[in-house]
């Protein structure tokens, strides 16, 4: 089905099941431990062997020699694979560094060997006996130091310019020009990367944990140099990914190579210390933001430059995208520069670019409002735009940012706020509130599905879409139930298997809208097949309560499959509505913090997000997405930072004791409001994404609240107590 004109009325609009806060259908198996993750598929293959990865001890250089004698002789060892005996390996277009390194070493903890043994403990013990001699090379590990050598990346739109930014900024009566930094972040998802591989002749089956099945199949085939048809990926349950499982990673490749070398199925999980330096991370940025405005608060010039680093051939952290679209202003510029750094590979993490960019931009807006002596919400509303500021003929399909602020301000009690910082005290706590805009585009991707109706009236959906804890199972079931007029318990959803039709996958907050639209398309086909079979007119057939009605005839749906199962397959393909219109999601984050007047410890006291994200398919799972994102935003604001050892070239705090993410005690009451809306430009579902919207702007709202509490402005994340301490009033 092609989607190239705005959606009109369709069965989804009934909202009998779609839009209802139904419980997640994978909830009971997950909470009872009966939803097996990749490393737990004991049922899938008999007698698997275990792989353990050896990571490079140096950040850059080459392997002079490897001595495997002791490791090979260790108890239980079946095989050891290194670059020397792995055969020729390719590299998928989405990987920057090789997933098995050697002789060249590109980053710390790059895999250099996998040891396969009868037990996990034997593999781990033998891995410590692998002796690698390295020749170190000099590398660049310091973004600030590499900033001047950063170059314009050769794809995307690194630079944009509209009007005369320099002239307008210089002439602006009120100016703001500051530099902000964000550190490297680790995805730190709960389930580490894990795979189990089994070969049958030249065919490979991989049980894995991957957000994008079709990319994974293609990139694994390319890496191993085998045809795509010979690779099957199975990934029905995923314990979080946040972008780190968008791509093929070492666990998959080394499980496959280990299985080939040992002649046994092999399972392999990355241990926690590998997550930081072996996999990907959100790259650090340096961002300069300039805003010029008239004294009454109109932006006349807005400029945003960003610097980030990656391995040679890598990509920038795209932190300026939001500035191109968020606020009005006739004169504008953005610039993206990318330095070569020899740290591990940077790549997408939840709201890649957007989260980092808004961490800076939304502090800058707060600072500018303060200079102008205008309320920060009023300042944002004043500079709202209903069209793409770079191409004014291009409207937003819908843009309800100011409504988000209005509703949020009312619910949060914003009007009682004291604009002057450092004025509210509650016992030992300095109390302040802050706000920031949330903004993220809502891309769509072709997504396919197969739907079956069987003789018991059960509707089964099959698609390689993934559920990374987001609720895909549930919203897909709701879509099929709504379309076929059956209750939810008559729908079975099967996900994450490459033998099913290729879907949009989970990433970039495109998953929910695209994949349900694909299921919608397949259901439209199935409805046609049902009507044909029952001799009904497909055009006016109503599917409800397990019946199909047309004119004065009403036939049980199940009858259509009484002699044979009916199967329909289709994909949604998107036309150019997203080109003629800017399709985006919006929100407003409100945060109250307390700062300990003595120790400067910062604790969030209250949070509210108001989101405008099109039709909300399931308010319960959507809320869960947003509160999870808000939690991650608190982590980014207050504690998350991969600490770079700039001499030794690696992320030092590579476990969950050193890399702190927010814990329960850090998270107070969180409130989420969704605007009641539907966007006909987005898809037949009229939905958009919210999983990444939820994190956008959170960290800045926290930082702005800290400023309001203390009068101390911190522009370098994370905002930790040591950055406030010497500017707080004295104690005792």
């Amino acid at each position: 089905m092609r989607f190239d004109t705005p959606a009109t009325a369709n069965p989804i609009d009934q909202l009998k099941i779609i839009g209802q806060p139904v419980d997640r259908i994978d909830g009971p198996p997950k909470t009872t431990g009966t939803a097996p993750y990749a490393y737990e598929r004991h049922d899938a293959v008999p007698n698997p062997a275990y792989g353990f990865v050896v990571g490079s001890a140096i950040p850059k250089g080459r392997i002079a020699s490897i001595n495997l004698d002791d490791a090979k002789a260790a108890p239980g060892v079946l095989a050891i694979v290194t670059a020397l005996n792995a055969g020729k390996l390719g590299k998928g277009p989405r990987n920057t560094a090789m997933l098995l390194g050697g002789p060249d070493i590109e980053h710390y903890h790059q895999a250099v060997a996998v040891v396969v043994a009868e037990t996990f403990e034997q593999a781990r013990a033998a891995a410590h006996l692998v002796q690698v001699r390295y020749v170190k090379a000099d590398g660049q590990y310091d973004l600030a130091g590499a900033k001047n050598s950063a170059a314009k990346p050769d794809h995307g739109k690194p630079d944009t310019a509209v009007g005369d930014f320099a002239g307008a900024f210089a002439a602006a009566p009120v100016q703001h020009d500051e530099t902000y930094t964000t550190p490297d972040h680790s995805h730190a998802m709960m389930e580490p990367h894990a795979s189990m591989a089994a070969w049958d002749g030249n065919k490979l089956t991989l049980w894995t944990s991957n957000q994008m099945i079709d990319w994974g199949v293609g990139d694994l085939a390319l890496t191993l140099g085998i045809p795509k048809e010979n690779v099957r990926l199975i990934s029905p349950y995923i314990g979080g990914g946040f972008g780190s499982k968008l791509f093929l990673r070492t666990d998959a490749v080394l499980a496959a190579l280990g299985a080939r070398a040992s002649g046994r199925p092999v399972k392999l999980a990355l241990t926690r210390p590998f997550i930081a330096n072996n996999t990907t991370h959100r790259p650090a940025t340096i961002q300069r933001i300039r805003i010029g405005a008239t004294p009454d608060g109109r932006i006349t010039a807005i400029g945003h430059e960003t610097w980030s680093g990656d391995l040679p051939g890598g990509r920038p952290e795209d932190a300026i995208q939001q500035t191109r679209l968020l606020y009005a202003g006739a004169n504008r510029m953005t610039a993206t520069r990318l330095a070569v750094l020899d740290l591990p590979e940077g790549n997408a993490m939840r709201a890649p670019g957007e989260a980092s960019g808004l961490m800076a931009l939304e502090i800058a807006m707060d600072e500018m409002a303060e200079k102008l002596r205008i309320d920060p919400i009023a300042f944002r509303v004043m500079n709202d735009t209903q069209v793409d500021p770079e191409e004014p003929q291009r409207p937003f399909s819908q843009r309800h940012l100011t409504e988000c602020f209005r509703i949020g301000a009312e619910r949060f009690g914003w009007d009682n706020r004291l604009r002057q910082p450092g004025r509210v005290r509650d016992g030992n706590w300095l109390v302040g509130t802050g706000v920031a805009a949330a903004f993220r585009n809502s891309p769509v991707i072709t997504s396919g599905a197969r739907v079956r109706l069987d003789g018991r009236g059960t509707v089964t959906v099959e698609t390689d879409m993934t559920d990374i804890g987001t609720g895909s199972y549930t919203i897909i079931a709701q879509t099929a139930a709504e379309m076929m007029g059956v209750p939810l318990d008559k729908v079975v959803v099967r996900l994450g298997d490459s033998s099913f039709p290729a879907s949009a996958g989970s990433g970039g907050q495109w998953g929910a809208n695209s994949s349900t639209a694909g299921v919608y398309a397949a259901c439209v086909k199935l409805r046609e097949a049902v009507a044909r079979k029952l001799g009904l007119n497909a055009a006016d057939a109503v599917f409800a309560d397990g019946q199909v009605r047309s004119g004065d005839r009403s036939v049980p749906l199940v009858q259509a499959a009484s002699d044979a199962e009916l199967v329909a397959e289709d994909a949604i393909e998107f036309g150019n509505l997203a080109t003629t219109h800017q399709i985006s999601t919006f929100g407003a984050h409100f945060v109250e913090v307390g700062v300990d007047a003595a120790t400067a410890e910062i604790r969030v006291r209250r949070m509210l997000a108001v989101c405008s994200g099109g039709r909300i398919l399931n308010p319960k799972s959507a809320r869960s997405q947003v509160i999870g994102a808000m939690t991650m935003g608190v982590g980014a604001a207050l504690m998350e930072e991969l600490a770079v050892d700039k001499r030794r070239g690696f992320f030092v705090n590579h476990d969950l004791a050193g890399y702190e993410v927010a814990v329960h005690a850090d998270i107070p009451h969180q409130d989420v409001i969704f605007l009641d809306e539907a966007d006909p430009m987005s898809s037949p579902m009229k939905a958009k994404g919210i999983g990444e919207l939820g994190i956008c702007g959170v960290a800045a709202a926290v930082a702005n609240a800290i400023y309001n509490a203390t009068g101390v402005r911190v522009r370098n994340y994370p905002v930790t107590l040591d950055k406030l301490l010497d500017r707080l009033p004295g104690v005792g």
Partner: protein, 316 residues
């Protein structure tokens, strides 16, 4: 993890002899620290002697009005003991500020005292570390040091001792009771129990090879207001940036010990004379001669401010 052999000890003296007898042997109690380190091959004992079966899990009054805490009393039980909560609240509060409920259920009194540093370089066997591999150098010096020590450091090591419980024990003048392989018992005041890193950061206490901790004794209660303030970036489940344990009496006198600043819980008795004069005066003596790094210099004003807040709180 390297393969190891394992035995259950039947009596304290036997446990001590067994460790002394076997090269590379270690005691294991709750295992919450030792097993983690073994998995990463930071500790590689060839033999483990499990002390969990020893009857060292009681809290009993002593003849001089104090309490004797068995080496195997779990952190959870110790923190919840009514006598501890009433008379040694500092200890209870310090324990509850540490780790998580699950860990405290396993962690023992002796194991807690002997837990090893959380220096991230110590945890990475690719990096030089004098504590893990004597003579290899110290990767932390000149590197990431926000968590590290500010006082009592050496050119060989700037790690901290991470225990919260030990800070309270130090402020409360606890005594560590042990038995040696030759069956001799000894009592070591906590002030003499830990060592500064010097040239031998791998040696952290005065315990001799095979010496088993049997109990920790507390002298009779000292009264006063007991406060433990652990300062950290997140609200729970994090090691201290700094912690301040204090007992403040009505007249403003008292005692103070610090965590997160040194290779041992840090206390300078002489500095406590300045308590009636306020936090600044105390901190000046307590941290005299501190040598912080660029990244952790904030710990000095942080100690002073935290202590100031505690003293103000105790007064009111």
């Amino acid at each position: 993890m390297k393969s190891f052999t394992y035995e259950r000890a039947k009596s304290p003296a036997e446990a001590a002899t067994a460790v002394a007898r076997t090269q590379g042997a270690k005691f294991i109690a709750g295992g919450t620290n030792l097993l983690d380190l073994m998995k990463l091959q930071i500790e590689t004992p060839a033999h483990l002697i499990d002390v969990n079966g020893l009857a060292l899990d009681k809290i009993e009054p002593t003849s001089d009005g104090g309490l004797r805490i068995g080496a195997l009393v779990r952190n959870t039980d110790l923190a919840a003991d009514p006598r501890v909560r009433q008379d040694y609240a500092l200890l209870s509060r310090a324990l509850l500020a540490g780790a998580s409920g699950q860990l405290r259920n396993k962690a023992t009194t002796a194991g807690n005292l002997l837990q090893r540093t959380r220096c991230p370089y110590f945890y990475d066997t690719n990096q030089p570390c004098n504590k893990r591999q004597p003579g290899s150098g110290c990767a932390a010096i000149g590197g990431i040091t926000r968590q590290h020590a500010v006082i009592g450091t050496s050119d060989a090591c700037i790690a901290t001792h991470p225990s919260d419980m030990a800070v309270a024990m130090r402020a409360l003048d606890a005594t560590v009771e042990t038995v040696r392989p030759d069956a001799a018992a000894r009592r070591i005041p906590i002030a003499e129990f830990y060592r500064l890193p010097g040239d031998t950061p791998q040696i952290e206490t005065v315990l001799q090879p095979g010496e088993l901790i049997t109990a920790v004794a507390l002298p009779k209660p000292v009264g006063g207001t007991h406060v433990y303030h652990k300062v950290r970036d997140r609200a729970s489940y994090a090691f201290a940036l700094i912690s301040v344990g204090a007992v403040v009496q009505r007249d403003g006198t008292g005692r103070v010990a610090l965590g997160g600043v040194a290779h041992m819980p840090w206390r300078v008795e002489a500095a406590e004379a300045a308590m009636p004069r306020g936090a600044k005066a105390v901190t000046a003596q307590l941290l005299a001669g501190a040598k912080p790094t660029h990244e952790n210099a904030f710990k000095l004003p942080l100690v002073e401010r935290t202590l100031g807040a505690i003293m103000a709180q105790a007064r009111s």
